[in-house]
Symmetry: C2
């Protein structure tokens, strides 16, 4: 079925960037794109063992780790967006929970322990098949240093965020909502969809639109 | 890195059920399990083209669709848990948002239009590598019928939920939290981890423990 606007209206499904499946991961046979019986989407189906191979969005898990009214950002030592600032985040691994993954990424990127305290934002980015699950966390102490994937790690006051040097639009959106919530006096839980403008870079601060934003406001 | 308890404590990562990758989906070469340079986890690495193939948790998206203080449940016409009752839910597809996926699944399973109104629960099930993202939704009208994957579709008052005939522990947990929130007078946003008891069936009503539950209480 075509993607819908959250309310059942059909829209044209955009082309999603994903690695093509050419061979069956199970038996090594060649695959062909077919619509399996009872389905509506084209899938990679093995011409030899007939297994259907699904490709689904990937979850990125991370956190806004705070200490003394400041938030922890990591300067990326790896591509993409090398040299730009990000929230600690990365792909969720099998066998862990999203909160555990967010704590693990903070440990890996900033060599520090964060206590995950609440869910905060879930942002889908359909164009790249990613779903960001971001928590609020509190640093145990202001003791951190760059892990292998970071060039630098720092606490930023909210009026010092380097907006033009953020690594990803998801980071921009999360930090904007976080500051709005601080000003409002209550942390909510946010959900929304980042529509990347075609051809925009991952870090383009104007390269996106946030649509279908929903928020459950938390207690003041 | 080993999974942590959300606060950095190392625990042993459980064995996760996932389809093994024997051949490279890209070039068809044989893969071997190796720890790539700079990583800590074993991955499927192609011995021919050297691509690393990651396997990540899958997102299941769905909703509690309400109408007239009742909730919509679908009786499954497919395995697993054939004949048992579920919330409309299914694997998130590439190119859609989680909310769009939840509306699409409701359309497919109950042939009805639901308006997604708020995020509600995110439940990780590490043992099976799945993450449930559940929304609250409102049915446009009490007009629905079983889609191809359902034997029956009904609205249940909250004191009529067929607890012993629910398809999945995730459905049990979501409906329990939903009823608690109704009694409390406010819908929050929930996050938690379902630990399946080894050997329990997907639908065993006592086959799980909910750990690391966090809730952001919504407005009354």
């Amino acid at each position: 079925m075509a993607a819908s606007g959250g309310n059942g209206e059909s829209t044209t499904k955009p082309k999603v960037y994903s690695t093509p499946i050419n061979f069956c991961p199970s038996c090594g046979g060649q695959v062909s794109k077919q619509v399996p019986e009872g389905e509506v989407e084209e899938r990679a189906v093995c011409t030899q063992c007939h297994k259907v191979h699904y490709v689904n969005p990937k979850m990125v898990v991370g956190c806004v780790a705070s200490y003394d009214n400041k938030v922890l950002l990591c300067k990326r030592a790896i591509k993409p967006s090398l040299g730009l600032w990000t929230l600690p985040a990365g792909f969720m691994e099998l066998g862990e929970s999203a909160a555990e993954g967010a704590a693990r990424e903070t440990q890996e990127e900033a060599l520090t322990i964060v206590h995950i305290v609440a869910p905060y934002a879930h942002l889908d980015i359909p164009l790249i098949g990613q779903s960001y699950i971001i928590f609020r966390g509190e640093l145990e102490k202001a003791d951190f240093k760059p892990g292998p994937e970071s060039l630098d790690v720092r606490l930023f006051a909210l009026d010092e965020i380097p907006w033009d040097l953020l690594a990803f639009t998801s980071v921009t959106v999360v930090l904007k909502k976080y500051i709005e919530d601080i000003e409002r006096g209550a942390f909510g839980v946010h959900h929304g969809v980042i529509e990347k403008k075609p051809g925009s870079s991952p870090s383009d601060p104007d390269g996106y639109v946030l649509r279908d934003h929903m928020v459950v406001p938390g207690p003041r």
